[in-house]
């Protein structure tokens, strides 16, 4: 959802203002929800491997916790700003609300570039981050998770520090832990699978059989790969994928009309999702420009890479055959492009609904961690399907009833739920 060159938080507030109008929210509720409830900004001094001390800037924003403990990732990024974190925390509030899980929205970050930090230095940042916030986060207050450039290992360091400070075991403090160390089965697949659960329901609504559809996907990371896998399993055919080529510093599309094989392509890709072009060509894939994924004659587009990929300048390249866009990435469609899609009657599953499988499974992980009892994968994925399907139908029913586009309907449901929780608590 973050937008380059635009203040992401201002954008989040503008979105909120529009929906607040639709909902006719009172002034106090608007004021409360336009801004985070709490913001933490702090310094993390770390003795580096060379013996010098460097001070890193850390943040944690708790946008709203009327519906439950705050939930959101921790990003390690050199361009991290408080406003980016505020925007992302706000969007987390809506995301948790749209899938109706009892959590609020939060986000955290540290201004740093892990590419230039040793494992020990990263560990010290993680521990320092927790030391600064140990009183303000925890299983019943605020539950962090991995995000940009953080992983399960970072979560374990943070958990260890938190437990050392509080003198006990609190696996529910943090999610995204490895399976066997308090993590949940199905977490890796959850976001991509969630996208396809929503696609499946949307196709039924559009009267399309999955096996009669084709899809084109942008991205070949975790979300995209699992989305492709499940979409193929329900009968669909992915004919094109696009991904970033590190060597060329440009994106490239890979097309095979008979359908791509996700395992085959994964076997010739690197850990960032970049695909070896020569090997792909040997496997029968046609190489096309990076934007070509958008123009494929398919029924479904799944942008599952980064933000701002369907824009005003390329939205008209979207093939007329496209009936559905499922936003696996955060903010892949700009507001201008969104307008073009609306005019063309394309059904859009908005990002914070389509990719909510990740946070839903994080919620499951937290529940399991708090119980210290872990479910089998069948249990996790069936619950995920139930949650995602129910959320999709709640949004599509409202869209239908009130003549709204899916994105607006999703915002209306989410913001209304949070506003209602604030009213129920007597805050406004």
């Amino acid at each position: 959802m973050a937008t380059k060159g635009v203040n992401a938080f201002e954008m989040a507030q503008a979105q909120f203002d529009r929906v607040a109008e639709i909902l006719d929210l009172d002034a106090a509720t608007r004021e409360l929800l336009r801004w985070p409830m709490r913001e933490h900004s702090f310094a993390i001094p770390v003795r580096m491997d060379d013996g010098q001390v460097r001070v890193f800037r850390g943040f944690r924003v708790q946008h709203n916790d009327a519906r439950g403990p705050s939930k959101g990732g921790i990003r390690f990024h050199p361009q991290e700003t408080l406003d980016t974190v505020r925007a992302l925390a706000t969007w987390m509030t809506w995301k948790c609300a749209v899938v109706d899980i009892p959590l609020g929205g939060g986000k955290g970050g540290v201004v740093c570039d892990p590419h230039h930090l040793s494992q020990r230095e990263q560990e010290q940042i993680c521990r320092g981050w927790v030391r600064q916030l140990a009183r303000d986060v925890g299983p019943v207050a605020d539950v962090p998770a991995p995000d940009v450039m953080t992983s399960g290992q970072h979560m374990l360091w943070m958990l260890d520090e938190f437990e050392a400070i509080h003198g006990g075991h609190y696996p529910g403090f943090i999610t995204g832990k490895p399976v066997g160390m308090g993590g949940s089965e199905g977490r890796t697949e959850a976001t991509g699978y969630g996208v396809v659960f929503a696609i499946r329901e949307a196709l039924a609504l559009l009267g399309l059989e999955p096996k009669a559809t084709r899809a084109s996907v942008q991205g070949f990371g975790n979300v995209a790969q699992h989305a492709i896998r499940l979409y193929t399993q329900i009968g669909g055919t992915v004919t094109c994928i696009a991904c970033w080529d590190e060597a060329d510093q440009a994106a490239c599309s890979f097309r095979r009309e008979s359908g791509i094989d996700v395992d085959e392509l994964a076997s010739v890709s690197d850990r960032f999702g970049g695909i070896d072009k020569a090997k792909a060509r040997e496997l029968g894939y046609e190489l096309l420009p990076g934007d070509a994924w958008l123009a494929q004659p398919v029924e479904i587009l799944i942008p599952a890479a980064i933000e701002n990929q369907i824009r005003a300048d390329n939205a008209r390249c979207v093939n007329p055959a496209v009936r559905l866009v499922a936003e696996g990435a955060n903010g892949p469609t700009t507001p201008e492009a969104d307008q073009v899609l609306r005019e063309r009657g394309v059904f859009v599953i908005p990002d914070f609904l389509a990719n909510a499988g990740g946070v839903t499974c994080s919620y499951f992980e937290q529940v399991q961690s708090n119980m210290n009892f872990f479910w089998e994968k069948d249990e996790v994925l069936s619950r995920l399907d139930s949650k995602m399907t129910a959320a999709f139908h709640a949004v599509s029913a409202l869209a239908d009833r009130r003549g709204l586009f899916m994105r607006d309907a999703a915002y209306v449901i989410a913001i209304n739920r949070v506003a209602q929780a604030c009213r129920d608590r007597g805050w406004v």
Partner: protein, 581 residues
């Protein structure tokens, strides 16, 4: 006839509409059992007015079929095919299947099925080979009941997921493999669908069960007295139908002569050969976790429990010791005998005419003799509910074999029977027989295990054989006969039920065990007391190939010829012309 899953509406979790009673999850094939059920539901829909009568409501309980594409995806994605190809021990298969994950795209639907369930559920196998007209596989694959007792959806879902995996695993267990081998089918040809169906019955404290369950066939392989094969046969039991399909003690009668007394010498004898226990779903304290046990959620109480539950009203008579007679009903004190006299003799329940109409309707639809399974729920003050649990075509052989009465007494006749079953001719040179000198009823479980060992060797050597023993083969009650499973005798081309004092050889009419042997064209020779019997001395003189403590395997010099005339029910086993001592 319904062929593929696409002929049945997709399960839609948004439409939890009780009227939408038949649905499916997945694509591909439905399997034999599900096809029959869907056909039965359509017959009922089309002919309800003709079939229903006041006081008896008919329905096919709500069901959802998990079609074979889910099975295929389960095996492939969990990489189970290499494992099952190794044919490992049952425990290894069971563990691997329980650990495997059901296909993601169908998990949400299964969860919704579990969530909607109000009554306990039955998970039944419905395979491509099973129940097909030419190869009925009834009872070979797993069935599991799920209590639905758990208040939380998670508990119900877990029970359902475990049960589906149990049915999948049962496709590859030892018994199923042996069966497929015996009928010449490859494992690769088999695919499994699963029928998830609401159980018919009522709750009584910690138990849930139907007042009466039954199996009705429109063709009787075991006609007795004035009964004709075409009149069919019905078997009834109190509680779940497991009593009948496992070959336990139940009540069998011809629907054309429901009041005919059974072939016993005294009413006292009925106490020994009628149902004494019944199966029910356990709604009480959770049992020890054992997902691979078919009986995990089942209990088998004594009849007294059913009487306390008030479910014997239409099923029991009372034995009067002084007169050695039975009085229908529960009006006086005494031992209860489940002869269903209030229903069959007094006609308090219009069951028999309803079954006759149903058998005829199902025969018309399937264009073949049929077997139906049903269950009755008889709530006080409400119409009785007759629920269909299964419909399948029956295999009836058409070969013409003639056995004259004279042959039964011919000198070369080794075994003779006037109550033979099946129809056809076969030749064998191997005979496995239970030694009459050492036989005792208490030893039957050990004898079953010994037979299994000999059977395995004969199947591996590709040698069909004749099996001779005492009492009711395949009985689940070791005191009534030798409790073998089908796979333990799968290589037998002929089976003899020899008479011995204290063992009642009256066969169980509804047993899947007999049905399965019939389907592989095994011939039965029931040697009734006082009738033509077995030439034991000749058998004892044959060359011994192997012997266990209670069982011998002998080989004859010349082939033995097995023949059964299905029309006259005469059957004989005769010694060949040369080489025999």
């Amino acid at each position: 006839m319904i062929q593929t899953a696409e002929d049945v509406p997709r399960f839609d979790r948004r439409l939890a509409d009780p009227a939408r009673r038949v649905s499916r999850i997945g694509t591909g094939a439905l399997g034999g059992k599900a096809q029959g059920l869907v056909a039965a539901a359509r017959i009922l829909d089309a002919r309800r007015a003709e079939l229903e009568r006041p006081g008896l409501r008919l329905d096919v309980p709500a069901l959802c079929v998990v079609a074979t594409s889910v099975f295929d995806a389960f095996l492939e994605r969990n990489r189970l095919l290499p494992l099952v190809a190794e044919e490992p021990r049952d425990e290894r298969i069971a563990l691997a299947f329980q650990r495997a994950v059901l296909p993601t795209e169908w998990l949400g639907d299964l969860r919704a099925v579990a969530q909607e369930a109000r009554a306990p559920l039955a998970c039944r196998s419905s395979s491509l080979l099973e129940d097909a007209l030419s190869r009925p596989f009834a009872g070979v694959y797993g069935t599991k009941m799920i209590p639905g007792r758990q208040k939380d959806a998670a508990g119900r879902f877990k029970g359902l997921a475990d049960a589906v995996k149990f049915v999948y695993a049962s496709t590859f267990l030892h018994e199923a493999r042996a069966y497929r081998r015996a009928v010449g089918e490859q494992a690769a040809a088999e695919k499994m669908a699963v029928v998830i169906q609401e159980l018919v019955g009522r709750r009584h404290g910690d138990r849930f069960y139907p007042d009466i369950s039954g199996v009705a066939r429109s063709w009787n392989f075991y006609p007795a007295g004035p009964a004709e094969p075409r009149e069919g046969v019905v078997s009834l039991a109190v509680g779940l139908g497991k009593t009948i399909v496992d070959g336990g003690a139940c009540w069998s009668f011809s629907p054309a002569h429901p009041q005919l007394p059974p072939p016993v010498r005294s009413a006292r004898e009925l106490l020994d050969v009628t149902q004494r226990r019944f199966w029910a779903v356990n709604l009480g304290a959770p049992p020890p976790y054992d997902p691979m046990a078919e009986t995990e959620f089942l209990v088998q109480p004594e009849l007294a429990a059913a009487e306390a539950d008030g479910t014997l009203r239409y099923a029991a008579s009372t034995y009067d010791v002084r007169s050695d007679r039975l009085a229908p009903g529960l009006g006086r004190a005494g031992a209860r005998v489940l002869d269903f006299a209030p229903t069959l003799v007094w006609g308090e329940l219009p069951l028999v005419p309803a079954l006759r109409r149903l058998l005829a309707a199902c025969e018309e639809e399937l264009q073949a003799p049929v077997e139906i399974e049903f269950a009755l729920s008889l709530p006080e003050g409400e119409p009785a509910r007759l629920g269909f649990l299964q419909v399948r075509p029956l295999l009836v052989s058409g070969d013409e074999v003639r056995v004259d009465e004279d042959e039964l007494r011919a000198p070369r006749t080794l075994v003779a029977s006037t109550a033979a079953l099946g129809n056809g001719r076969a030749e064998v040179r191997d005979v496995v027989f239970v030694d009459p000198a050492t036989f005792e009823a208490r030893l039957t479980p050990a004898i079953a295990a010994e037979i299994e060992i000999l059977n395995r060797g004969l199947v591996e050597a590709g040698r069909p054989y004749l099996l001779i023993g005492f009492g009711r083969w395949g009985s689940s009650d070791p005191w009534l006969g030798i409790p073998v499973r089908f796979d333990q005798v799968a290589g037998a081309r002929g089976i003899v039920e020899a008479a011995l004092p204290g063992m009642n050889p009256e066969p169980s009419q509804g047993s899947h065990f007999f049905h399965n042997l019939q389907s592989v064209s095994a011939l039965f020779f029931t040697a009734l007391p006082g009738g033509p019997a077995v030439d034991w001395s000749w058998l004892a003189a044959q060359q011994t190939v192997a012997a266990t403590e209670h069982v011998r395997h002998v080989r004859t010099g010349a082939p033995l010829v097995l023949r059964v005339d299905g029309r006259t029910r005469r059957g004989s086993v005769t010694r060949g012309e040369s080489g025999a001592p």
